[in-house]
């Protein structure tokens, strides 16, 4: 156990050191990307082709309409590609997918969720994977960053009617951040053993006289953006547990870092753009603290290995790969669920009750430590507004954050934001059991594990979908009309309702002047604020989800 503690600390320290090293240069670089007036030659060509004037900024409704149009087109294209899969090249002979699965998958990848109701190995050909899904891996991440940057501009701008230009933000996110880093990441992963070919399935005879199937595919290119864009949709069913997606312990570490770099550097971008780096540091500090606590709890739960089966086997190794071990699995699992990635290198369904519960809790926290690319930053800023409001009253001032007053309109939008996802999670789960026909289908077809664990599978599915995570208690058979539809709706609303509120808030903040900082201003860059923000995040989540957590992981884990 002591050895494990040191191994855990060493790995966490590695992550910390690298993130600290990257924080400033990457954060500053991204700030430059979004504030620079210059366009690259290739970007200018692109803007001409799509008919956008890069110099003109948009009001928040226009920005929102652009996002909605872009996402709607994306959903339609991905849906259509799946429905005509058999006529596409490199389909591996796979047929078109069902309407409800195509609906679910299209929404899933456009909303940056990457929930997979299907087993990709046997469902999707290469063309749909790279020309449909992988493209959305890039642009859905770019949309997230764009929304976050728009919100940051809301804080940074004074008396402005605009919050930036979506097309410019999306293009720059893609071409200047995601694409170059993906190329780099793909090469590193290639070196580590991730495959990149178009060979299809290869059957070989083994030395024991049997046969084995070796899969192929353009995995490295998809893997890089899957993690960098906190998407999480694997090329293979086993996702990052698959040796061709994540071959070694060090590629595992690389993958963890890929998920964390952009979300952890964005607070720096935020601080930079609002002209106070300490503000970014406070946000990053909050994220880091929450991350460290969460990963420690999950690792403790898994190393402790409570539960009948783990105790019987001697360790919680069901669903985990030998090369990663328990620590490599929990750090990945925490990272994936707390960043909105949803990739897995071990099966969360087979985690101990409390360990799996932590994965779900990470998602319930709203995925903001550090959260998805962009969505993590705007998520934590929305909670910060709630925290600032209560704390601001407590110091006797009309609450303000970064010089922007938090009035009734701002409060309404922040409240709606925190209201949206819990409502989707709880209503979706409850409906799964409340509608008699659905209930019988859910309990007889979908639920895999008996007892409370089965309930947790359903709860996890809606939690993951509404928060756009994409990981699953994968025993659940989600490829049913109910789950494909309900989870599709949850993903859609769970993505775009918050974006509407965030952009509306950005618009309302941008209009305001900035109140100067005085002694009477609540300081939002000190450890005190970090503690406060953590308190609000944990309390708001705990109060919302405590009963369902009690019914699921807690009831199971405390038996």
């Amino acid at each position: 156990m002591t050895a494990n503690v040191w191994l855990f600390i060493a790995q966490l320290a590695t992550i910390a050191v690298i993130l600290v090293l990257v924080y400033r240069p990457l954060g500053d670089y991204m700030a430059m990307v979004f504030t620079s007036p210059k366009n690259l030659r290739v970007e200018r060509g692109f803007y001409r082709l799509i008919g956008v004037n890069a110099a003109s900024e948009q009001s928040w409704p226009a920005y929102l309409r652009s996002i909605l149009a872009f996402s709607a087109v994306g959903i339609l294209v991905v849906y259509a590609m799946q429905r005509v899969q058999e006529i596409l090249p490199y389909s591996l002979g796979l047929p078109a997918t069902s309407e409800h699965l195509s609906f679910n998958t299209a929404i899933s990848f456009v909303t940056n969720t990457n929930w997979q109701s299907y087993s990709p190995d046997v469902t999707l050909g290469y063309t749909v994977q790279f020309a449909g899904l992988a493209v959305q891996n890039f642009v859905s991440a770019a949309v997230g960053i764009a929304v976050a940057v728009a919100l940051v501009r809301g804080f940074a701008y004074k008396r402005s009617g605009t919050i930036g230009n979506f097309w410019v933000d999306m293009t720059r996110s893609t071409l200047r951040i995601l694409l170059p880093f993906s190329v780099l990441a793909a090469i590193i992963l290639l070196a580590g053993g991730v495959i990149q070919n178009f060979s299809g399935f290869q059957d070989v005879s083994t030395i024991a006289g049997g046969s084995a199937t070796i899969p192929g595919g353009p995995v490295a290119s998809q893997e890089a953006i899957k993690l960098l864009g906190t998407n999480g949709g694997g090329f293979f069913n086993a996702n990052s547990a698959h040796p061709f997606e994540n071959p070694t312990p060090w590629t595992n570490m690389v993958q963890i870092l890929l998920m964390l770099v952009i979300p952890f550097a964005l607070p720096r971008t935020f601080g930079r753009m609002v002209g106070d780096n300490r503000q970014g540091l406070a946000i990053a500090g909050t994220m880091a603290t929450l991350f460290a606590v969460s990963v420690s709890l999950m690792t403790w739960a898994e190393l402790h290995g409570a539960g009948t089966a783990p105790q019987l086997a001697g360790a919680a190794m069901e669903g985990k790969e030998d090369r990663f071990g328990i620590i490599g699995s929990t750090i990945f699992g925490t990272t994936s669920t707390i960043t909105s990635t949803g990739a897995v290198n071990s099966m969360h369904d087979s985690f101990t009750s409390l360990g799996g519960g932590m994965a779900m809790l990470n998602i319930m926290l709203g995925e903001l430590a550090p959260g998805g690319v962009g969505s993590g930053l705007y998520g934590i800023l929305m909670i910060a507004i709630i925290a600032v409001f209560v704390a601001g009253l407590m110091v006797g001032r009309t609450p303000e954050y970064l010089g922007k007053k938090i009035g009734a309109r701002e409060m309404k939008l922040a409240s709606l934001y925190i209201l949206a996802t819990p409502t989707l999670v709880l209503a979706g789960t409850a409906l799964s059991f409340a509608i008699p026909a659905v209930r019988s289908d859910v309990t007889s077809t979908s639920i895999w594990n008996p007892g409370l664990h089965g309930f947790t599978e359903v709860l996890y599915a809606f939690t993951s979908a509404a928060n756009n995570n994409g990981s699953a208690f994968a025993g659940l058979t989600a490829n049913t009309p109910w789950f494909n539809t309900a989870l599709g709706v949850a993903m859609l609303l769970g993505r775009f309702l918050p974006i509407v509120f965030v952009l509306a808030l950005a618009g309302s903040l941008a209009k305001q002047d900035r109140v100067p900082v005085t002694n009477g201003t609540l300081p939002t860059h000190r450890p005190q604020f970090v503690v406060l923000l953590l308190g609000v995040i944990v309390i708001v989540t705990a109060l919302t989800y405590f009963p369902v957590l009690a019914l699921g992981p807690l009831a199971e884990g405390l038996l």
Partner: protein, 721 residues
């Protein structure tokens, strides 16, 4: 400028947690929260149960609906049978108990509001007495040619029939029939009905003391008044509405907080509504009363119940400070103020300069100088003059005035005053240049010496007054200089330091020259000053501050202050001021004490702090309630959850009931705090937050654990629980 009298009620008492400046008498009555008050408020609390009223407070409305629903179930239970909850039988009296305590919860919330309103009612009662219809003598056709209206026809009408623009005549002994401005005459007026101040005040035509308030009484002389208010909208009417809380509108922060509370309530409503379908999967379906109990415990009832009481009490605290805020918005804005504009005279200094030093020049002896200075001031009635006499006497000079001396009064032309003695010698004191020219030829050496003394005094913020004599032979000589000093009020430095800690910048406004202004600003400890200020400069400064995002507060009384008062975010008009000023400001200080601004800021902050702290407390309470209720709800089905019962509560039924009882009792326990306001210290925002987070955040988590456990110990004695 207003004349300020330091009365006991505005003596700062900085260590008083409820804010300085409260009258001792009202303090006693305000902080005491008596049983009698509760009883008096009870009927009002019951009246407020009307759902049409309750719906304005969504949180408490949910509780009321829950209470009604539980009551129906309690009534129906004997007939339809009692539903088990999650497989556990609950005590027969459980539903009844929950129903009763839910009603008590609603009642307590109403009680809080009722008590808060009750405090204003008494004040309103006495104000109403002044409003009783009096007879007004209206001038039928007032004309400027007969300004005193002595020759014009007069009719007698009821004061209620007076309209805007009417002109009335009021003589000694009569009650002024409505708000207005004196357009002719001078009178002493007893305004005690409004201000509580028994000393009469002088009101006269012209200048900044022309406004009179309906309901006050003229004690002497006769005045002609032009009515400036519409019937039913007089100052007293507005005051009554304010203290009664009838015209209370939700303030911006209150609206924002309500949104937060409503959305928290919605979240918990969703939590509770979705619980049974989910729990049904494992056979843990709970009965409706249990779910209602859970919901009521989770929604922020504590702050929901006390929110309006806090608002009313905040306005009430201002009224106790003799300040009338025209809207709650203004009170909140006061908490946000970042720049305070303070007039030097009357606010920062006593408003009259005092002699502090005699400086001889040209070889004159000190005795000569002091003696002459004293004699020349003996008949000078101004405060400056008497201060010279006082200082001279302190130095041992008590010469009698010379009989037959002729007083030479100060005029704007001569800028000197003094005495012509019977022997032909003349004594003069006055501004340096005037005295110098009166003396005639002054040697360059003496002039240089004089100038250097004058400069030194000016730079220290004082005013030099040159003293000279001319003997009977006509030979004149300069004796020296009197140092007149603007005396800064005691204790202000500390209060400005407090303000600085609170993040508020103070700016002194003065008509003095920049040199003098700078010296006084330094002495008083203000952050900035505006010298040689005209009303236009003042307006300019406010606009500049506001453009920088600052919220500005100021006081004013004159008509020329009106635009600035209107422009400022918090404009406090002095009650002695003109009606134009009172109309323009959003607060009126009945004591006409400019330093009151500081108290107003504190009250504004205290109001917000109380709301924020109780919100935090309310939400933090939920943690303990969960630990009481969740194991109680599900431990029957999932025995493992019993470990969450860390309080070791007796039984599921007693745990749930105890949580509900605690929830109700905490409301009543916090009413005094809601009315009195959370303690506020003038320190930085950061330390205020730390302290309040510790007390109301951490305290809010811990207190209910103890409270629920104690209540459970008692509830468990009830048979069946």
């Amino acid at each position: 400028m207003s004349t300020t009298t330091e009365t006991p009620r505005i003596t700062p008492t900085p260590d008083d947690g409820t804010g300085p400046g409260q009258r001792p008498s009202t303090k006693a009555s305000s902080s005491a929260f008596s049983f009698a008050q509760l009883v008096a408020a009870l009927p009002g609390a019951f009246r407020k149960l009307d759902p049409r009223q309750m719906v304005r407070n969504p949180v408490m409305f949910i509780v009321e609906v829950g209470a009604a629903l539980t009551t129906l179930i309690a009534i129906a239970e004997p007939f339809i049978g009692r539903a088990d909850s999650a497989g556990q039988p609950l005590a027969p009296s459980f539903t009844v108990g929950i129903a009763i305590w839910l009603w008590i919860t609603v009642l307590f919330a109403n009680l809080a509001e009722s008590v808060a309103e009750g405090r204003g009612k008494a004040q309103a009662q006495s104000l109403r007495a002044t409003r009783t219809s009096t007879l007004a003598r209206r001038v039928i056709q007032y004309s400027q040619t007969d300004a005193s209206a002595e020759a014009t026809a007069i009719e007698e009408v009821s004061s209620a029939d007076l309209t805007l623009g009417d002109v009335v005549v009021v003589v000694a002994g009569e009650v002024i029939p409505g708000d207005g401005d004196i357009i002719f005459g001078i009178a002493s007026v007893d305004e005690s009905a409004i201000t509580g101040e028994s000393a009469p005040v002088v009101r006269e035509f012209g200048g900044d003391r022309s406004a009179v308030t309906g309901g006050t009484r003229v004690l002497s002389d006769r005045v002609v008044i032009r009515i400036t208010s519409k019937p039913g909208e007089t100052f007293v009417d507005r005051m009554i509405r304010l203290v009664e809380g009838a015209s209370r509108q939700k303030t911006p922060n209150e609206i924002a907080l309500n949104i937060l509370l409503a959305s928290l309530s919605i979240v918990f409503l969703v939590v509770v509504l979705t619980l049974n379908p989910m729990a049904s999967y494992a056979g843990g379906v709970n009965s409706i009363p249990v779910l209602i109990a859970l919901l009521v415990c989770l929604i922020p009832t504590t702050i929901g119940a006390l929110l309006s009481a806090i608002g009313i009490a905040g306005m009430d605290r201002l009224v106790q400070h003799n300040v009338l805020a025209m809207s709650g918005r203004a009170v909140e804005a006061a908490g946000d103020v970042t720049t305070l504009l303070l007039d030097k005279t009357g606010t920062i200094t006593y408003g009259n300069r005092r002699a502090t030093e005699f400086v001889t020049v040209g070889g004159a002896t000190l005795t000569q100088l002091v003696s002459v200075a004293r004699l020349s001031s003996l008949s000078d009635p101004t405060p400056e003059g008497s201060s010279v006499v006082t200082l001279a006497e302190q130095m041992g000079h008590t010469e009698e005035s010379v009989a037959g001396a002729v007083i030479v009064p100060f005029t704007a032309q001569t800028r000197m005053s003094g005495l012509d003695l019977p022997d032909g010698s003349q004594l003069r004191k006055g501004a340096g240049s005037s005295v110098a020219s009166w003396v005639g030829s002054v040697s360059p050496a003496l002039l240089a010496e004089l100038t250097s003394v004058e400069t030194r005094i000016s730079q220290s913020g004082g005013t030099p007054l040159v003293v000279a004599t001319r003997d009977s032979t006509g030979k004149a000589r300069v004796l020296g200089v009197i140092h007149l000093k603007d005396v800064v009020k005691e204790g202000l430095r500390e209060r400005f330091a407090d303000l600085r800690a609170m993040g508020i910048r103070t700016v002194m406004i003065t008509g003095d020259n920049p040199l003098t202004a700078k010296a006084i600003a330094a002495e008083a400890g203000v952050d900035d000053f505006l010298a040689e200020a005209t009303p236009e400069d003042k307006m300019e400064l406010i606009k500049k501050e506001q453009a920088g995002g600052n919220l500005v507060a100021m006081t004013g009384d004159g008509t020329n202050d009106a635009p600035a008062l209107a422009q400022a975010d918090v404009g406090v008009a002095m009650n002695t001021g003109t009606s134009a000023a009172k109309e323009a400001g959003n607060m009126v200080d009945l004591d006409s004490d400019p330093t009151k601004l500081i108290d107003i800021v504190r009250i504004g902050k205290q109001l917000l702090i109380t709301r924020g702290s109780l919100t935090t407390f309310s939400i933090a309470n939920d943690v303990a309630k969960y630990f009481a209720i969740i194991p109680a709800m599900f431990a029957g089905v999932f025995p493992g959850l019993a470990v969450l019962n860390i309080m070791g509560l007796h039984s599921p039924a007693s745990a749930i009931l105890s949580a509900i009882i605690f929830n109700a009792l905490v409301i009543i326990a916090l009413i005094p705090l809601a009315l009195k306001g959370v303690k506020y210290r003038a320190v930085s925002a950061s330390s205020v937050l730390s302290r309040n987070l510790l007390v109301y955040g951490l305290g809010g988590i811990i207190v209910p654990f103890i409270g629920i456990k104690l209540i459970d110990l008692i509830v468990s004695l009830i048979p069946g629980f």
